[in-house]
Amino acid sequence: MIGPLPMDPLLVTKGLTRRFGGLKAVDGVDFTLMPGEIRAVIGPNGAGKTTFVSMVCGRVLPSAGMILFDGGDITDMPPHSRVRQGIAYTFQITSVFPNLSVYDNVALPVQRTLTDGRSRGAIHTGVLTALEKVGLADRAAMQAGQLAYGHQRLLEVAMGLALKPRLLILDEPTQGLSDAEIEDFVRLVRTVAEDATVLLIEHNMPLVMQLADRITVFDAGRVLAEGTPEQIRSDAAVQAAYLGTGAGEAA
């Protein structure tokens, strides 16, 4: 980065490292995310993307390095406290509660954010708002496990949204979605980004190019490149490592 930053960063990692045995899944990553950004993290399979965001949300503890969220050190904070600080994570493998109703799935994060509201009314309103955002309001009474796969992904996002996060981490959210569903999803992420910062792991290159403000490219546990979609598209190292020569069809 050149010149003074206009705002304080929302998320900073310094020398973040995670070893699994002899393998360095994430190797000394310095990363800065500004508030309001939509940031995509891309890279080949095994590049350490999921391990990296798992350390940010606390599911995996780092072997070395530190994580700052909104200026505070959260490196050793348990995951549930990070969620309370405003970091929400949606799972790569769809992880809704299949035996609970769609309504209850969203009621769980909603009631978490209500500090005052013991009232069922406040929960009810919050649940319906979150479900309407993703277009699942008419399916509230269904069991989550009976939803179509694309709808389960949307429910997963609704659960993340219901936490009213400051940082929403989406781990491969469009995997398995149809083209029409992906279009809806892009609109949804744009709406979310009005209130929250979005960190997106994604393989779908056209989507990333369209949606992201900036892109970080991981390779073998390190940051290979970072920049705007145009910069990344024209970066020779990225093309060699990931995009292949020419168009992006990596997935």
Binding site: F91, F97, D104, A107, L108, P109, Q111, R112, R120, I123
Partner: protein
């Protein structure tokens, strides 16, 4: 969701069950009258177990220690300190609550099979301690609480050895525990417990401190179980180390599985059916345990969700 409609149905059903139990007081022959009082108290034990096992999904094999903590907390304070009935009852419950909280702190560091084993080991330590400190506890002989100590003075004197008073006291405890668990499972905390049972990792990532929630569940579960133990001591006048044995840790699991885990009325139904089967079988054969075993195997094979769990899955989706 027609929430109000559903609530009305739920409360109507629970009140109807209580009304039937109340009416049974006047029609049951003496033997079954006494048995029913015992079943209601043990059903409270099962309801306590159900909070942890059914809703939070934690399988404990040590709940006899909570039941016995209530029982001995009541019995010993009467015999040694001359506590009155209400005070002894409260101290029994308090013993169970404190024990459950401490055991929860330690045992919840494990999960799954390890949790089963750790709770079972703690219960064994508890049971063996009862026998070791025989000077206080009466060892494996136990203690009989004399009839004069079992009179409850609330303005009027209620003799808990009188069958009708005993039945009504058991019913009152049962009703209190029933509505307490109903309120718990319909609360936000209940929803979190079910979420932990279904997917603990995901629940954490929704911002819940799952350890604290599980600890609360262990404590609530142990406290309800202890209330049953305390009532058992008062109503049946006997405190014995066999109630702390592993058998009494497994029985509430069977009652809950039979009636339906994670249903509010399942524990009562399971306890009742198990007693009826045991009673019927033992009236015509000495190999009654064999029959009970066969019934349980059939149950697990064909109704793995228990009686009410199966009804709920097939027809009555609104059952809490």
């Amino acid at each position: 969701m027609s929430g109000d409609d559903r609530s009305a149905k739920v409360y109507a059903l629970h009140l109807a069950v209580l009304a039937v139990l109340f009416a049974l007081n006047f029609v049951l022959p003496a033997y079954y009258h006494g048995l029913m009082a015992r079943i209601m108290v043990l059903a409270v034990f099962a309801m306590g177990y159900n909070v942890l096992f059914g809703y939070a999904g934690l399988l404990s094999l040590g709940h006899a220690m909570f039941f016995a903590a209530g029982m001995y907390g009541t019995g010993l304070t009467i015999v040694h300190f001359g506590f009155s009935v209400p005070l002894a009852f409260v101290s029994g419950i308090a013993c169970g609550a404190v024990l459950a909280f401490v055991i929860g702190l330690l045992a919840l560091r494990t999960s799954g099979v390890a949790f089963m084993i750790v709770t079972m080991m703690f219960a064994q330590v508890f049971a063996l301690s009862l026998i070791y400190f025989a000077g206080w506890t009466g060892g494996d002989q136990g203690l009989v609480i004399p009839q004069p100590a079992r009179i409850l003075n609330l303005g009027a004197a209620f003799d808990l050895t009188d069958p009708t008073v005993r039945y009504m006291a058991a019913l009152a405890l049962f009703a209190a525990a029933l509505f307490a668990t109903l309120a718990l499972v319909r609360s936000r905390h209940g929803r979190v417990l079910v979420a932990i049972r279904e997917n603990e990792e995901r629940t954490k990532m929704l911002g819940y401190d799952t350890f604290a929630n599980k600890l609360a569940a262990v404590t609530a579960s142990g406290t309800i179980s202890a209330a049953a133990g305390a009532a058992f001591a008062l109503l049946f006048g006997y405190v014995g180390a066999n109630f702390a044995g592993v058998q009494y840790s497994i029985l509430p699991l069977l009652w809950v599985l039979l009636g339906g885990a994670a249903t509010t009325l399942g524990p009562l139904l399971g306890t009742l059916v198990m007693y009826v089967v045991t009673d019927t079988a033992s009236s015509f054969t000495s190999a009654w345990l064999l029959i009970v075993g066969v019934v349980l195997i059939l149950l697990v094979l064909f109704f793995p969700k228990g009686i009410l769990g199966t009804l709920r899955a097939r027809w009555l989706g609104w059952l809490p």
